[in-house]
């Protein structure tokens, strides 16, 4: 729909409800990995699926997080009937603290997801227990008049993950969330294929399906493969075993505990998010600790190494994590030694490779044996590969298809796969964040773009870092800064004293004294006669800046940021 072109039509439709429409608008996660958020909207109601954050890309210097742009939700907040969260990973939940500060609405999710979200909202002081609601799979939530949302179970790398079947006036929309098939999951119900088959039989207007691993042929192996590998490694380890994984990967933690108990080892948990998640999972009954309980720090010192398994944070090499500290000889309780075995039961999230492998290298240096994804089956990921995606197409047989969750190439490959599975090419839409796809009884079409920028969170600031700030940071990062300070007598406009230059991040200041002195002379030269134009300091600044930039480039082939400052005294 494009209200700019069809105002009368919109009014008519709104007035008599005779021409229903449905708009599907991704506000995040399409064209990138992370900050997943999708809007479904009719004339009467609007629901949101997921509310995630994204970790900054390399060029987003100094940025802590990226969250979706919710301008469109603000504009339509009167229709907002709730946010439906598919599972408890931060790329699906992490923007909630920011969004709920600005918009009041209900949040629906499964039980473990609720537990994880509640902790975060409490930290941010925006938890409203009454509006954070637990939903069982199979349950149907009426959202306004136009939407009925049903949660169905899916297998993923966190328990209690769900997909959504959303009834709309124009037909059923299926949103898979993040999923894989895993017919023998270690925990939970796996992906509810029979329900997908039923929905498919009834007819599905639109399938939105996870594209994260659409590049990969074949099947994603079951968690059980990892369980066997963990058990084997722990059974053969000569000394301590230290396992790290994603703190949310409760099924993995469960497998490690099982293997430890199996081989008469006791378990010690370290790292804040691991301790927190294990506690929540145990409270909510998703995890049973070892019968003998977890090890305390004192026991850790007393038990022989071959009786110990440590479960630790640090699977992404995060510098402050427990494992990274161990790898730097910096952990309060655990010093890595010869005979230790470390299992990285995870794979590096794109962008984290350097951090992860630095930790692996340092662990090897300290004499540990390290098992990691490139050399051992100690991890399987949580997303469907091509053959699994095909199973979903075969069951759901959607009339339309929108690939979700992925960089553009993942979406494009998933779209190609949809074609091979018989979805008509004209009914496949590769959307990117902000693209509005509109369904009318006569069919689907693109209907323009809604506001959808990237919103950077940096410290306490949300949205106050823009592309100018990032461009400056990039410039500063590359060649540093050289500030030129020119003092001017306010009354006469005459330059007072000698201009000063100060640099940071440009050259070794002590070794480059001569260069900086010469720079000072260049400044003075370029200011010659400037007092005649005292009123035009803008012009003078530019002249000085250009002269210095040219001089320094010629001397060093570098382009530091030149910051001329005129001080009136």
């Amino acid at each position: 729909m494009d209200i700019f072109k069809r105002p009368e039509r919109e009014q008519a439709a709104a007035a008599n409800g005779s021409e229903p429409w449905l708009r599907v608008v991704p506000l995040g996660g399409l064209g990138e990995i992370g900050k997943n958020m999708m809007v479904l909207e009719t004339a009467n109601d609007l629901v949101v699926v997921d509310c995630g954050l994204m970790f900054p890309e390399e060029e987003m210097l100094g940025v802590d997080l990226v969250i979706p742009d919710i301008t469109y939700l603000h504009e339509n907040s009167h229709k907002l009937r709730g946010i439906f969260i598919t599972h408890g990973h931060e790329d699906h939940t992490g923007a909630l603290p920011y969004v709920l500060r600005e918009l009041q609405t209900r949040v629906y999710c499964t039980r473990l997801t609720r537990g994880l979200i509640a902790v975060k909202l409490k930290e941010h002081r925006v938890l409203n227990e009454d509006e954070l609601l637990t939903v069982e799979t199979g349950e149907v939530i009426q959202a306004g008049t136009d939407f009925q949302v049903e949660f169905f179970s899916v297998a993923h790398s966190i328990p209690d993950a769900a997909g959504l079947a959303i009834r709309t006036p124009l037909g059923t929309v299926i949103h898979t969330g993040d999923f894989k098939l895993d017919h023998t999951p270690v925990m939970g119900k796996g992906t509810d294929l029979p329900r997908l088959a039923e929905l498919g039989r009834e007819g599905v207007l639109l399938l939105c399906s996870d594209s994260t691993y659409a590049e990969l042929p074949g099947y994603t192996p079951s968690e059980q493969v990892v369980g066997e590998a963990l058990d084997r490694i722990i059974s053969q380890a000569p000394g301590r075993v230290i396992v790290t994984t994603f703190a949310s990967l409760i099924a993995r933690v469960h497998q490690v505990i099982d293997a430890a108990v199996n081989h008469n080892r006791r378990v010690f948990i370290t790292g804040r998010s691991m301790v927190d998640n294990v506690n929540i999972a145990m409270e909510l009954g998703y995890l049973k600790g070892p019968a003998s309980g977890f090890l305390k720090v004192d026991d850790l010192r007393e038990l022989p190494p071959e009786k110990i398994v440590v479960i630790s944070t640090g699977s992404q090499g995060e510098p402050t994590s427990a494992l990274a500290r161990m790898s730097n000889g910096d952990h309060q309780h655990i010093q890595i030694m010869h005979g230790d075995t470390v299992i990285m039961s995870s794979s590096p999230v794109p962008g984290n490779e350097a951090l992860v492998y630095r930790v692996v290298d340092n662990l090897f240096r300290l004499g540990a044996g390290v098992f990691y994804n490139r050399i051992s089956n100690v991890h399987v990921h949580g997303h469907a590969s091509q053959e699994e995606l095909k199973v979903v197409f075969n069951l759901v047989r959607p009339r339309h298809f929108v690939p979700i969750h992925g960089e553009y190439r993942h979406l494009a490959l998933h779209a190609r796969l949809a074609q091979t599975m018989g979805v008509p090419p004209d009914n496949i839409f590769i959307l990117q964040d902000g693209d509005a796809l509109e369904f009318r009884p006569e069919g689907a079409s693109l209907a323009g773009k809604v506001t959808c920028d990237w919103v950077y969170v940096d410290g306490l600031g949300v949205g106050d870092v823009d592309h100018v700030v990032l461009r400056d940071r990039k410039h500063l990062a590359t060649d540093g800064i050289l500030a030129i300070i020119i003092a001017v007598e306010q009354r006469t406009g005459r330059i007072v004293g000698r201009p000063d230059v100060v640099s940071r991040g440009f050259v070794d200041v002590e070794e480059s004294e001569a260069l900086l002195e010469e720079t000072r002379q260049r400044v003075a030269q370029s200011l010659d006669g400037a007092t005649d134009h005292a009123a035009e300091w803008g012009v003078v600044k530019t002249t000085v800046k250009d002269a210095v930039a040219d001089f320094l480039y010629q001397k060093t082939r570098r382009r530091p940021m030149i910051l001329p400052v005129v001080v009136e005294v």
Copy 2:
């Protein structure tokens, strides 16, 4: 030759008042990927193997290149008998322009390697034709009295790659260079296993073998696999085919040309380094262009798309490369359109993933079909996997082993592999850059560390960017800078006018006027009474800096670099 079996020589040495010794010192490439350089030294002579550069890691902000620290070569330059280059890749040759500017010595290498090096040395104006010498495989170079260096052919991702067998007074050292086995190479002689077997039979003191892919089980596939994939894709492509690969991967270029000719397509070459390398390879007879010659720009416009193959730079997503420009709609002659097929016949070098996949995404966006390493067999890499490494151990049966070329984990895994192949654990040394390993008739042992820092090249500066500059760049990159300018009357030491603040890369200046104004007030407050201590401007600066830093952190949770400048007027 084995000194332990030749007592006469030992006696001779003893008679001279000293027993023979051999020192092996890696100056680069052990503990990182790149800047490969290794020293072999006796009491009389010193030879160097390779002289490479490394591309900067993420945290080396603004750095162009990293080169080895050659302090040790300076200290021993009187013994330097030559630099032996194994092959023409920049991580083995790229530091030559910098090293030859400081040290005069001969450089020995094979023919294509010489061609590639000569171009670079000419660009840097340090080419001395007489000292850049071509060596045939099988030839033995006498280097001083103590070394005889023999080049033997190896398969790698560039023609004319070699390993070195270096006879020393204490026995033979084999340095594999970069290699894989590839029994059916597309070009060149492959790895000379019979020669390795002979050397092994004679007895080998030390094997230094390529660890880059020691993580990978099995065999690295032959280049032929790629040839078949390229031929199939080109035969089926509906329109233009654009292939990118490493410009030095001449065998790949050769295969693309073959496939093009096979399917009646003509070939256009674009991108400076690709054009240069193709020219050198043709001049030296390593590449035969198509019989009809390469396409000119004008022909490119006239031929139908299904008659065209383009070979382009940009396999690493380099922003200024031909393919990156095509992906941005920015290439002078080639606009990507529906029906185009792009083949990325390469894999991203670690650290380049984001750049490469951005190009892939943009090509998909423009409607091209893209084949890349994750979805198709369009690339094999140039290094031996575990089973190949084992073949070398089996043939060479070295008495000692030093894994070379790799991050620490690669070296550690290769060391483990050496043990399984029967090298005694005490004879395996995991060295890192600067570690000196010393051989005496009675055995080998570590003998301390030589000076071996990282030397950063930034623009024209070599070594003038140090950790202080990098730390400042990191700081600037994260939170930007805030300069505080305080004018002081020279005569009286009194503050004149109102302090000014200027920021870059910190906050959106227009939206944060209030914050900056408040900062100005804080500066003024913290200066209250400062005129009483006019002599101690250092103290005042620190006070202002701390006050402003605290204030800004409290307000923003950011820590911009605070730069207080006092101007005397």
